[in-house]
Amino acid sequence: TVGAVAVDSEGNVACATSTGGMLNKMEGRVGDTPCVGCGGYADNLLGAVSPTGHGEAIMKVTLSRLILFYMEQGKTAADASDQALAYMWERVQGLAGVVVVDPRGGWAARFNSLQMAWAAAQNGQLHYGLGKGE
């Protein structure tokens, strides 16, 4: 799965996610990616999310909307992501990762899987990582 979130110079947010799905899936299986609130969500009032991971687990907790719900309660993008990923692990033992932005330009790339390739560009600087803490 691949995905992106952005905030433009007018403060508008957007998300996009695309995937080939899960290895050796049943024909006709659809995961979280095309489902609003699961495989992505964007609302100028809250932020935008694009997830990746075990689609069935992501759908069970509507991961993208859950993260924005926590942000609506005042959490940062990083804290909201960590809380939602922890909830997903506790409830359904799901592994996933997310990229998140808020309307003010705050951002996060968080995951509870072993790795997630990510990159962020802001203020002329490029940040990137693959493993925990990078």
Partner: protein
């Protein structure tokens, strides 16, 4: 307002030999999407550009490089959402399309629906002039090897793709 763009290339277990390819791919996509933001283009333009590049990069599991289903075929899903209006478009189980994310955007822009699936999505693609590509062009040797390995009795495709708890 400081524009920002963040991309991911998938969560899970990235084999060591593919780690640098993955990191290079997400850096390239982030730079390209961010360049659009710097030129005044919209967040929607930026995320679609970034994801299109990732779909075209065989190091990632989307577009070219997609994992294969149990029959060895490619079925892809994609979604876009615009935070200004909550407009959204998606495609699911779509085949023989190089860039499903662009098709999802067209669903958002040209239909009254949120998601088109399977053959209906293909018919829509033809109607709006999105060309079909041979399925073989979306399948990499790496994807075929993983598919074959996970046909073995006792294999665990989810664990193979996602790894264990990080």
């Amino acid at each position: 307002m400081l524009p920002v763009l963040v991309v991911h290339g998938g969560a899970g277990n990235v084999p060591r030999q593919r780690a640098e390819l993955s990191c290079a791919g997400v850096r390239e996509a982030a730079r390209a999407g961010y360049a659009l933001l710097q030129s005044g283009r919209s967040a929607m333009d930026a995320v679609v550009e970034a994801v299109t590049l990732l779909e075209n990069n065989p190091a990632f599991n989307a577009g070219c490089g997609s994992v294969l289903n149990e029959h060895g075929g490619v079925e892809m899903d994609a979604l876009v959402m615009d935070g200004r209006t909550l407009a959204s478009g998606a495609v699911s189980a779509v085949r023989r399309i190089a860039n499903p994310v662009q098709l999802a955007r067209l669903v958002m822009e040209k239909t009254q629906h949120l998601c088109l699936t399977a053959e209906g999505a293909s018919k829509f693609a033809r109607a709006v002039g999105v060309p079909e590509v041979p399925e073989e062009t979306l399948i990499t040797d790496y994807a075929r090897k993983r598919w074959q390995r996970n046909l073995q009795p006792g294999s665990n495709p989810v664990e193979c793709q996602m790894g264990k708890m990080g």
